[in-house]
């Protein structure tokens, strides 16, 4: 008999319930009001009172309204058909809802139960399997989607029988397995999993080391993220977090992209809905939407479901990782999720931590980031979840609980600077404050020296040093005045400006400039460093500015041209001519 209960208190979306039987923490229940069932999650149990957060508006709920407990935690349905879907935070398929407005209590099936998938078995009767073993495969948007033994099964099993290749729905039994006690279990192509529990059916989780190309130069060149790595992008409003994340979601070298729009603007999600079905994934020639799942719990959607949305997204990411795929997960903005926690904690009258956030916020954030990573599966294959979250610090001040907690959990830090955004130096990633811990991993150094070049890390460090020196002399010039410093200072400053304008700045809205393959990044970095290492002679600082502006301008024309196209080569030649006007003879670059 399932547990039932009655409503005894309502404060916004926090409802107090008295249950007539056992309930468990994080169990799902439904509050019945005017014939509608409102989904809720148990968040605290105290004496006879069970506190639940309702994933919907509680308008009209009355004392003594009936409550039904579901006997399970908040879970998602996993199976073929997840890709290209637009879900809300609770994995309701938004496209299946026909109304213009979201209807309270309307829950839709996350997959397509009637749809037939062309299944191909990968195992034979008698084969030994365990949770997460691949037993079959279907093509999902032309991508191999592994059918796995449910993650929740413990122990070893033997395949008793498995269907032949053919068309099946996600609900059809495709295999029967038996455990050591000869108990039979029927397997279908879909399974459920509680979102707040990590899926850990893999052999080991080593340190990640493979570069994940994003096409964004300030990341790939200066502060790279890796397959299975974690990073975060804090920045004041309007600094470019969302634009940067969207760029990465379009360009990154990932098999699967999961986007969690968590408490942000609906129009930004609509932008993805509109663009992704049109845009092509350059590597596969297929539409971006085919490799993407969107979890849209925008700021006007229920707050409690906002908290759930990041877990829903992460669980779907873990599912695809278990198939040996490279998954990229993006969440915008993790601060909204933290705020959802804060709203609830305040209503529960818990003892508040800094800025009224719950005390356990750092732990919640770090265990979430820990779900990302690069893994060796039990069958020896690899899979990864690269996770990048944005953080929206109150007042743009990075000394606040969400930023500080995230800094401890994430390995890459892409700080967006207001000043850079104000002067339209996009992406506004601060090159000095930002970092990637992966640059310090010897595994990573080895990896990039194989795929890019032996001295790549040295070049990157050289560029960083030039940027740092540029910043220092700029401060000097500001204090002492243009003519209060040697002409060399101006040259040093402008060399750092070349790196800033040519490598760091990137126009996210230009077809060519928006994404730079690593080969081109290498070419440009070497090119720019070559110039930075040349000596120039000027009589006075007044000549320096306009000369380097010409160099930068020509470089920008190169950035706007197809790599090594006629146009590109023309500007490159033009650039060499400009350089040769002033370069000291022995460092002259030859013009073919």
């Amino acid at each position: 008999m399932s547990t039932k209960g009655k409503v005894k208190g309502i404060i916004a979306n926090l409802v107090v319930v008295e249950a007539d039987g056992p309930v468990s923490q994080n169990e799902i229940c439904f509050i019945i009001t005017g014939g509608t069932k409102l989904m809720a999650e148990v968040i605290k149990i105290s004496g006879i009172s069970t506190y639940v957060q309702v994933f919907e508006s509680t308008r009209g709920v009355k004392i003594d309204s009936d409550v039904e407990f579901a006997g399970h935690l908040l879970e998602v349905t996993l199976g073929p058909g997840l890709l290209s879907k637009n879900y809300d935070g609770l994995q309701n398929d938004l496209d299946k809802m026909k109304d213009v407005f979201l209807k309270r209590g309307e829950y839709t099936h996350p997959l397509d139960p009637g749809k037939k998938w062309s299944f191909k078995p990968l195992v034979r009767p008698g084969d030994k399997v365990e949770a997460a073993s691949w037993i079959g495969e279907v093509q999902e948007n032309a991508m191999p989607h592994k059918i796995m033994i449910p993650f929740s099964l413990k122990g070893n099993f033997t395949i008793k029988n498995i269907v032949e290749a053919g068309d099946y729905t996600i609900e059809d039994t495709i295999a029967t397995i038996v455990d050591n006690e000869s108990k039979e279990i029927k397997i279908s192509m879909s399974q459920k999993w509680p979102v707040k529990v990590p899926i850990t059916n893999f052999k080991e989780k080593p340190r990640p080391f493979r570069l994940l190309e994003t096409g964004v130069r300030t990341m790939d060149t200066l502060n790279p993220i890796v397959e299975g790595g974690t990073g975060f992008i804090p920045g004041p409003f309007g600094a470019g977090k969302t634009v940067l994340q969207h760029a990465i979601s379009k360009q990154a070298e990932a098999d699967i992209v999961i986007v969690a729009a968590c408490g942000e603007r609906a129009n930004e999600v609509v932008e993805i809905f509109t663009e992704f079905p049109e845009l092509e994934d350059v590597r596969t020639g297929r539409k971006l939407m085919e490799r993407t799942t969107i979890i849209a719990n925008t700021s006007n959607m229920p707050v409690a479901a906002r908290e759930a949305s990041v877990y829903t997204a992460m669980t779907i990411a873990e599912y695809y990782r278990s198939m040996g795929l490279k998954v990229l997960m993006l969440a915008d903005s993790t601060s909204r999720w933290a705020q959802a926690l804060r709203e609830m904690s305040n209503r529960l009258e818990e003892l508040p931590g800094p800025d009224a956030f719950p005390m356990d916020l750092p732990a919640v954030i770090s265990s979430f980031y820990a779900r990302a990573g690069f893994v060796y599966l039990n069958n020896g294959e690899t899979g990864s979840i690269t996770f990048l979250g944005t953080v929206s610090p109150a007042g743009g001040n990075l000394k606040e609980p969400v930023t500080e907690s995230t800094k401890k959990a994430a390995r890459c830090f892409y700080a967006l600077a207001q000043q850079r955004a104000d002067s339209k130096r996009y992406p506004a990633v601060d090159p000095i404050d930002s970092y990637s811990k992966y640059l310090e991993y010897p595994e990573f150094t080895e990896f990039v020296s194989n795929i890019i070049s032996e001295n790549w890390i040295d070049l990157v460090n050289e560029a960083k040093t030039i940027l740092q020196r540029g910043k220092e002399v700029y401060e000097q010039i500001n204090i002492l005045g243009d003519d209060g410093v040697p002409v060399d200072y101006h040259i040093t400053y402008w060399k750092s400006e070349i790196i800033d304008f040519v490598i760091l700045q990137q126009d996210a809205f230009d077809k060519i400039d928006q994404s730079t393959p690593i080969e081109r990044q290498q070419y440009m970095l070497e090119h720019v460093l070559n110039i930075c290492n040349s000596e120039f002679s000027f009589d006075s600082f007044t000549e320096v500015d306009s000369y380097f502006k010409r160099i930068i301008n020509t470089y920008k024309q190169m950035n706007y041209s197809d790599f090594k196209s006629e146009k590109f080569n023309k500007f490159e030649k033009e650039l060499q001519n400009i350089v040769n006007e002033r370069v000291v003879a022995e460092t002259q670059i030859s013009v073919e």
């Binding site: 005894k8 009209g60 407005f101 305040n346 809205f509 500015d545």
Partner: protein, 439 residues
């Protein structure tokens, strides 16, 4: 407010604070309306048989034996074409002496639009003000506030924008408007002869502050009626959202909630987002665009109200007095329209994005030159030219009294580049320079 005959009357209030009162009652729904001593109130908390009501008119003078009746519904508004041309108070009651509205009764603060039923905004809203159209182009379905100190002429600019924008309806949600400002809007709308497409919900400084909480939802429910049922384009003006947020904090502090930053409720982000996210473009042509005002105190945008607003809206418009030209300008550095890239260079001339960016960059160079000057350093020739450019740019493009079309703004931009700079100093794509640089 009328009460129906069968309704139970309660007369025993157990607790009263500045904005709320509590009593024992049963069978009450969350969010339900009540009348306390003739004042409208709404259920904000129920614990067992104790119901807490937020009294919109404030609790002054409410006795413990006041009559309390529950209305069995949450706040509503009657919608029909008759709304056009009318003025209402925060409860949706006429204040223009006209008759009550007949129409379908709808709950205010209703559910959100399913994101997959939205359309990407793509219609440019021209205002003639170059500081907006050129640098911060507005798009229908957008939500954007003016960030302004109280002494800036934001109501004037907003009225100007509203009248020039070609929309089917303009809905004014006034919160804590001074009576003078209310009369200003009324006059402007009257004089423009457009009163029949304007609807106003007004809470003035003479009215109790908590009443303001109803204004945005009233205005937006009316807006949804015209945008969804009638496929009309609707522009909603909300002024002043800072006073709305202040009212929120009054209520939440009275309910003993733990305040977060700047004594604002921890739910401020969600509360504001629920309002602003009503801005929408529908595939059928209807749209709701929200232009709001958030007054700042001493230009501080890190305060919780502008800060949360900035994280919700699609950009912001800053007004600033430029002492070099003695006029109010739309500040190009701090202003931003995030939807502009959906229209610039697409609905407008191809050179729009680059002209816009180049001009702002050069204006930034001028700002640096100014700093040098203030620090007593010599200026280079380039510095001097950028300062000259900045003055021209302010006067001919940024000032709020500019009223020209976008092509003309672009032409003005190129002529200013030509007047003060060489092509390579401007940093625009060569193809565009070849095509548009004045010969």
């Amino acid at each position: 407010m009328d009460t129906k005959a069968f309704q139970k009357i309660y007369t025993k209030i157990t607790q009263i604070t500045k904005a709320t009162c509590s009593l024992r009652a049963s069978g009450i729904g969350y969010d339900e309306l009540a009348v306390v001593n003739g004042k409208l109130a709404q259920v904000v908390k129920i614990i067992r048989d104790t119901v807490t009501l937020q009294v919109f008119g404030g609790t002054e003078g409410i006795p413990t034996n006041a009559e309390v009746t529950f209305l069995g519904k949450s706040p509503t508004i009657k919608v029909s074409e008759d709304l056009a041309g009318r003025f209402f108070n925060a409860y949706g009651e006429p204040i223009d002496g006209g008759p009550a509205i007949e129409g379908e009764e709808r709950e205010i603060g209703g559910p959100s639009v399913n994101p997959v039923r939205r359309k990407q905004p793509s219609e440019l809203i021209a205002t003639g003000i170059a500081g907006i159209d050129l640098n911060n182009t507005l798009v229908s379905g957008q939500k954007i506030p003016f960030f302004a100190d109280p002494d800036q002429p934001f109501n004037q600019v907003m009225a100007m924008v509203a009248l020039r924008a070609k929309t089917d309806k303009i809905i004014l949600g006034g919160m804590g408007l001074t009576n003078d400002d209310y009369l200003f809007y009324k006059n402007v709308f009257d004089n423009a002869g457009t009163l029949d497409r304007i609807i106003s919900f007004v809470n003035t400084t003479d009215n109790p502050p908590v009443e303001r909480l109803l204004v945005p939802d009233m205005a937006l429910t009316a807006a949804e009626y015209f945008a969804v049922d009638k496929n009309e384009t609707v522009l909603v003006l909300l002024t002043d959202m800072t006073l709305y947020a202040d009212a929120l904090s009054i209520v939440s502090n009275r309910m003993d909630q733990i305040p977060s930053k700047d004594s604002m409720p921890g739910s401020l982000y969600s509360d504001l987002a629920k309002i602003y996210e009503k801005a929408v473009q529908f595939p059928e042509g209807g749209s709701i665009t929200i232009i709001a005002v958030t007054t700042l105190s001493g230009g501080d945008i890190t305060h919780a109200i502008p800060d949360n607003t900035g994280y919700i809206t699609e950009g912001q418009l800053f007004l600033r007095r430029d002492s070099d030209i003695g006029k109010v300008i739309v500040d190009p550095f701090r202003s931003l329209s995030r939807l502009k890239q959906l229209v610039i260079g697409k609905k407008t001339r191809e050179d729009h994005p680059q002209v816009m960016n180049a001009a702002v960059r050069l204006y930034a160079d001028a700002a640096n030159a100014k700093t040098k000057l203030e620090n007593g350093f010599d200026l280079t020739d380039y510095d001097q030219r950028s300062l000259d450019f900045a003055k021209d740019y302010s006067n001919k493009l940024l000032a709020i009294d500019v009223n020209i079309d976008i092509d003309e703004m672009l032409t003005t931009g190129w002529s200013l580049f030509n007047k003060h700079f060489k092509p390579e100093e401007v940093g625009i794509k060569q193809d565009l320079v070849d095509k548009y640089w004045p010969k």
